[in-house]
């Protein structure tokens, strides 16, 4: 045997050994950690939810639990069905983990086989090990949980060597094998299949044609090469065409219901912003997560990758593919990706996947460099120029710093939490299961992707969901909102969407909200939701009264044959590929499988050698040092502005001890004093239920050691943005700027102990202990209510219904108000009150209300025929204490503007967290022209007064009362008369202003 062949055999053996090492390493690292990183990933629970769907309803693609129903044919099912099958033996999370481990192993094999197309087995073995620790793979698995992407890629990479062999050797077995692997890719992830054709399959065909050409021993210059390539392609046209046609048939046939769905129900929603489309230079946080972290090694080794990938003609197509992917992966940093993809695709696709593919293409080249760096020419270069020790130190420090970087990524979810803390879902499942709560829809708030985990474990349905492409509800598709569940992260649009659902709850039979974030409390309370129970896991259940149970929705029709095909074909591709692989390995696997892959050179230009040897160390060290700097060494108080910005940052994240250290150190102002003062001054809408949106400072005065700063803050609350202006004095001590605490003199109440008496109500059910539906005997009558007045007001382009309603019963009442406008063409529109209304009233109490309608142009174009105001009542046990005694006086300003000065006396033995007043503008006859909820941002302490002022624009001088439109009112479905209008002497003495207290109290005993 010639010596070179002996070496090659050894290399082959070594390659496989390295593959085994890689597989074992993957088991030890990914295998162990996946179960723990899974709950913190973006997508894992979504795929688990889909898997649960197939586990329950294999042949029924209609999934009713999200978005009032959608077709699961909107996502290729193979991955979900495979997990569903495993879940028949293991619990869902473990089933997902088992599947993930199998796929990562398959991906490593795929990378190994893929790399053999480029270089020898030894380098392929290194490539396999590299895959285990490649940051892009780790991020995709442990941060994103994108199982279909990984599955699609694993099978795609395994298909490529067969395709290569088929083009060169023209044996049908290779065609069969490549198609069978690609079939699984198609069945797993359509996007990988589509773009894989461009970025992986086309370069493989090109490389095979190049190798075929060079195997014939023909050397060409570039023009000749191009001609020869065209000629070779023409000679292989039969193979290429056959593969292409069969591939298209597979792609269409296997997941035909998906294509049918995308054609018959195209996605028309507003694009949802995604960090991967940002300009990474102006949004460094997005750049870090979507570009720097996954591609750190690729960027560091870009010189050598660029050199390798362009030095040989056989890699030419790979070079195009690699650089294109890298460019597309750079998101909106340059306008090129948008130009290449077009506006539509750019706004739908998440572009980080292109960077991920670039990293996969780069693996063989990185592996090649690692080999030369550790054992071959680059090592010789360093040893020759310096010495062995230098090379060893460089290798060790690069490896160590990179591994530290990898450790950071493994725990990225812990360092930079992407999800709320893990929530125990059992109490919610118990709640949904009992008392037929499943007959209504629920909504989660502040759950992150764990909302999908709750859905996967329950048959109850939610109006929200976590698969954006399937959304069809106008409240969701008309706004760039990812989920209602995390509305606060989608700014004004997100909260508007959430507000739509909370106010129009009846439309979707939405009765329960599980809230894990008190940020939403003010919006929930003022939209008529009541706290019902705090579950054992700390989740607060909010409930809305008078909501109808879910009405049956006709699922979107799908032919029974398509349902069967969806349940059988995709998963069959996995079975077929498994059986074919065994058959292939037994009958066809040849030892000279890669004999057509030419050997490559180890030589690099000196600059490339230097750069590629040093940059990985430089990059990973710099990254880690930056992290350490951000964590420990940032100078937070080097200027007055920085001191204020960082103080507010700590305050925003409720790190009060850190915030305290920004105050001037003083023995008379210890942490205790700060916290005590804070507890009496710092409650309310802004400190407790808001996130800092933006901050701006202005220097009023500055000397060497003293500074006066004006601080303008903008706060994002669930009830909209609020702005605030503060003035702060700072002092410089020991090269640090400190805030001088303001002197605070509290109001001291005279009483030592406060008492307050109120009446509690309990709806006493008579239900027999039985799982049968409630019988007539158990029904509690609908309480009496009466409209005191109802008016149709037009103020320019705004239209609304105003009025006053009275609880005429002897029990507290929960009101469900809605206005139905009938138009000339007999079409109807229904409107619900927003926050300008008290939804719960104690016996004989009354409330003003305002229900906003559409704009004048729309209403006039449809020609209003009549207006009906419906009110349904229900006995309420909660919500009838609105807190506080408002005292007020009104000052008239110019242009019909008035100032309402409120002095709120808190007679309750608890803090009023959000003081508020519901104001009605009345005319001299008592007609209500508008109703407004006015809130104050600071809380009112028990027994104390709180003064605040609001401005209001009066409208009655320019608005119209539309008496000519017939208006009827209904209480509990029965037509009722409106009480005669009474003059309000109190309002007449106060510029026509009447008001009532409408405050939020977070103490649950107050039953709001």
């Amino acid at each position: 045997m010639p010596q070179s062949d002996t070496y090659r055999l050894w290399d082959e053996y070594k390659g496989k050994k390295l593959l085994l090492v890689a597989l074992s390493l993957a088991l030890l690292t990914h295998g162990i950690i996946i179960y723990f990183t899974l709950p913190k990933t973006y997508d894992a629970f979504v795929h688990i939810f889909f898997a649960d769907h197939y586990a329950r309803f294999w042949f029924e693609p209609w999934e009713y639990r999200w978005y009032t129903g959608f077709l699961t044919t909107s996502y290729p099912p193979m991955v979900h069905q495979a997990i569903a099958l495993i879940s028949k033996i293991f619990p869902l999370k473990i089933a997902f983990s088992i599947y993930a481990i199998l796929i990562i192993e398959l991906l490593i094999i795929g990378v190994y086989r893929f790399s053999k197309l480029f270089f020898d087995k030894k380098i392929a073995g290194i490539a396999a090990i590299l895959t285990v620790v490649l940051s892009s793979v780790i991020e995709t698995l442990h941060v994103y949980g994108q199982m279909p992407t990984l599955t699609g890629l694993a099978f795609l990479l395994n298909a490529l060597p067969f395709l290569y062999q088929y083009i060169i050797k023209q044996k049908l077995i290779y065609l069969l094998m490549s198609l069978s692997f690609l079939a699984v890719t198609v069945s797993s992830h359509h996007v990988t299949a589509i773009f894989g054709m461009v970025f992986f399959i086309a370069p493989t065909v090109f490389m095979a044609l190049t190798d075929d050409l060079s195997n014939k021993g023909q050397a060409h210059k570039l023009p000749g090469f191009i001609l020869a390539m065209i000629k070779t392609a023409f000679l292989k046209k039969k193979e290429i065409l056959l593969f292409g046609i069969l591939m298209i048939m597979l792609a269409i046939g296997l997941i035909f219901p998906y294509w049918y769905w995308s054609k018959t129900d195209p996605i028309t929603q507003v694009s949802i912003p995604h960090g991967s489309r940002d300009n990474f230079l102006t949004h460094p946080a997005s750049g870090l997560v979507f570009f720097v972290i996954p591609l750190m090694l690729i960027i560091a080794l870009l010189p050598v990758i660029s050199y390798y990938i362009t030095v040989s003609r056989r890699f030419l197509a790979w070079a195009v593919s690699f650089f294109l992917c890298l460019l597309l992966g750079s998101g909106g940093t340059t306008p090129i990706p948008k130009m290449l993809l077009g506006d539509n695709a750019f706004n739908i696709l998440t572009l980080d996947r292109f960077g991920f593919w670039a990293s996969i293409i780069a693996i063989p080249f990185i592996a090649k460099f690692i080999y030369t760096f550790l054992y071959a020419s680059v090592k010789e270069f360093w040893v020759k120029r310096f010495n062995t020790k230098t090379h060893f130190l460089l290798s060790a420090s690069t490896g160590f710093s990179y591994l530290l970087f990898i450790l950071f990524i493994f725990h990225l979810g812990s360092f930079r939490p992407l999800q709320p803390k893990e929530i125990d879902i059992d109490p919610m499942l118990n709640f949904l299961n009992r008392d037929e709560h499943m007959r209504w829809r629920y909504l989660t708030l502040g759950f992150g992707d764990q909302m999908a985990w709750l859905s996967a474990n329950s048959l109850a349905s939610t109006v929200d969901g976590n698969y954006h492409s399937a959304r069809r509800l106008p409240e969701l598709t008309s706004r760039p909102v990812e989920r209602i569940e995390n509305a606060k992260f989608s700014g004004v649009e997100g909260l508007a969407s959430l507000n739509d659902f909370l106010c129009n709850a009846e439309k979707y039979s939405l009765k329960y909200v599980f809230s894990n974030d008190r940020y939403y409390d003010p919006l929930l309370y003022y939209s008529g939701w009541n706290r019902t129970i705090r579950l054992e896991n700390g989740i607060m259940v909010w409930e809305k009264g008078n909501i109808s149970t879910i009405q049956p929705i006709q699922p979107k029709a799908l032919h029974p044959l398509l349902k069967k095909a969806w349940g059988i074909f995709p998963l069959s591709s996995l079975v077929v590929v498994f059986m074919l692989t065994i058959w292939y390995l037994k009958k066809f696997k040849s030892h000279d499988y890669t004999d057509t892959v030419p050997e490559s050179s180890d030589k690099h230009p000196v600059v490339v050698t230097y750069l590629s040897s040093l940059l990985p160390l430089l990059f990973s060290t710099a990254f880690l040092m930056n992290q350490v700097y951000e964590l420990l060494l940032v100078k937070e108080q080097d200027s007055p502005k920085n001191a204020i910005l960082n103080y507010y940052n700590h305050l925003d994240f409720q790190r009060f001890e850190k915030a305290f250290h920004f105050f001037q150190p003083s023995p008379t102002y210890p942490l205790d004093q700060y916290l005590l003062e804070k507890s009496v001054t710092d409650g309310g809408l802004l400190p407790s239920y808001a996130k800092l949106d933006s901050i701006h400072t202005k220097e009023l005065f500055r000397s060497k050691d003293i500074a006066n700063m004006q601080v303008y803050t903008r706060w994002r609350t669930s009830l909209g943005f609020r702005e605030k202006k503060d003035t702060m004095q700072l002092i410089r001590q020991d090269k640090k700027w400190y805030i001088i605490p303001t002197t605070y003199t509290p109001e001291i109440p005279e009483e030592q102990v406060r008492s307050y008496t109120y009446t509690l109500f309990k709806r006493q059910g008579k239900r027999v202990i039985s799982s049968f539906p409630t019988v007539k005997d158990d029904r509690v009558k609908k309480p009496f209510a009466v409209f005191r007045q109802v008016n149709f007001i037009r103020n320019g382009k705004d239209n609304f219904i105003t009025g006053e309603i009275l609880n005429a019963d002897d029990v507290p009442v929960n009101f469900a108000l809605r206005v139905q406008v009938l138009f000339a063409d007999n079409s109807k529109r229904t409107y619900f009150p927003g926050i300008h209304f008290q939804y719960n009233l104690s016996p004989k109490a009354s409330t003003f209300f305002q229900v906003d309608l559409d704009n004048t142009h729309l209403l006039d174009s449809l020609h209003i025929k009549s207006v009906s105001v419906y009110c349904d009542t229900d006995v309420s046990e909660r919500g009838y204490i609105h807190g506080g005694t408002p005292g007020f006086s009104v000052t008239a300003l110019k242009n019909n503007r008035i100032q309402i000065h409120t002095s709120l006396y808190n007679e309750l033995p608890t803090e009023i967290n959000i003081p508020g007043i519901l104001v009605a503008e009345k005319d001299t006859e008592g007609t209500i022209w508008q109703t407004k909820l006015l809130l104050h941002e600071k809380s009112a302490r028990s027994g104390l007064h709180l003064n605040f002022t609001h401005e209001l624009q009066k409208i009655q001088q320019k608005a119209q009362l539309l008496n000519q439109i017939p208006l009827t009112v209904f209480i509990n479905g029965q037509s009722r008369n409106i009480l005669p209008l009474l003059k309000d002497e109190g309002a007449n003495k106060n510029q026509g202003i009447a008001l009532m207290s409408h405050c939020f109290i977070s103490q649950e005993i107050y039953l709001q």
């Binding site: 104690s842 005694t885 002095s903």
Partner: protein, 278 residues
């Protein structure tokens, strides 16, 4: 004709000869319009004695029956079939795919526990609206079959009853809380206000008199009373809920005193004044 073709032709003829004979409808020997469960036994005459299945199909329930071969045909036993919803039904006899239907009425041999239902609507009344009730009576057996009313030949009785004006819980049937109906108090008719200065905590205590409706019933617990108190500078509105017909509030005292009035729903008290004793 080849040998093979002859065999195939014979096989075809064999198949033709294998057609099954359809059974004639069994004759019900002790036929009746009404079957009583579980006492009755049904006798049928048929040439086929085995492989029959029997079932009673009513509008709400299928009742599978036990069937045994008899001397002339087969016998259907209704033993252990009890507690059914009575009414028209079909007795179905099935032999393979062929079914025979016999229209019947079926009833229980014993009514079991008799329950008298007394429905009142509305169950809750309020003197503000109406003091009349629509009453409906009927009787059911243990299995919710309608029975004749006691001492009557009717299944239902209905009437309009006048109710007392006095608030209370009134069970329509003795010892049966489910049948209770409720007379609740109406709206207050007269509000009296009393106020006094409390030097101990520098406040005014304002209290309503006993709040009653037009029929002298004390208003419901939890009735919302809005106490408005004002001077020339400011108007306050303090809310309190009644307990045992009274509501009271404690207002922090002001030097110049206040005008005070209380409002419940549409009704207001006369205005009174309070001030600190000089």
């Amino acid at each position: 004709m080849t040998k093979k073709n002859v065999y195939y032709s014979m096989l075809f003829l064999f198949f033709l000869a294998c057609s099954k004979k359809e059974p004639a409808a069994p004759v019900w020997l002790n036929a009746t319009d009404t079957i009583t469960l579980p006492t009755d036994t049904l006798f049928f005459s048929s040439s086929i004695k085995k492989e029959w299945k029997a079932c009673l199909l009513s509008f709400v329930q299928p009742v599978h029956l036990e069937l045994k071969p008899g001397a002339e045909g087969f016998i259907i036993y209704l033993k252990e079939k009890t507690g059914i919803i009575e009414g028209p039904a079909q007795l179905v006899l099935q032999y393979n795919d062929i079914s025979f239907f016999y229209p019947i009425q079926f009833r229980n041999a014993s009514p079991g526990l008799i329950t008298e239902k007394d429905y009142r609507s509305p169950k809750t009344v309020n003197p503000d609206s109406s003091l009349h009730q629509h009453r409906m009576l009927y009787t059911t057996d243990q299995w919710r079959n309608l029975q004749l009313l006691r001492k009557s030949t009717a299944f239902f009785a209905e009437n309009i009853t006048d109710l007392t004006t006095q608030t209370g819980i009134y069970p329509a049937q003795k010892n049966n809380p489910v049948t209770a109906f409720y007379v609740q108090p109406g709206s207050v008719k007269n509000i009296q206000l009393y106020a006094s200065y409390q030097p101990s905590n520098n406040s005014y205590t304002v209290e309503t008199g006993q709040l009653k409706d037009a029929y002298n019933n004390t208003v419901a617990n939890g009735t919302n009373v809005v106490f408005s108190y004002w001077n020339k500078n400011i108007v306050y509105k303090m809310e309190a809920l009644t307990i045992n017909g009274k509501a009271s509030v404690k207002i922090p005292a002001a030097e110049k005193g206040y005008f005070i009035a209380a409002t419940i729903g549409q009704y207001s008290s006369p205005t009174i004044t309070v001030s600190k004793p000089s």
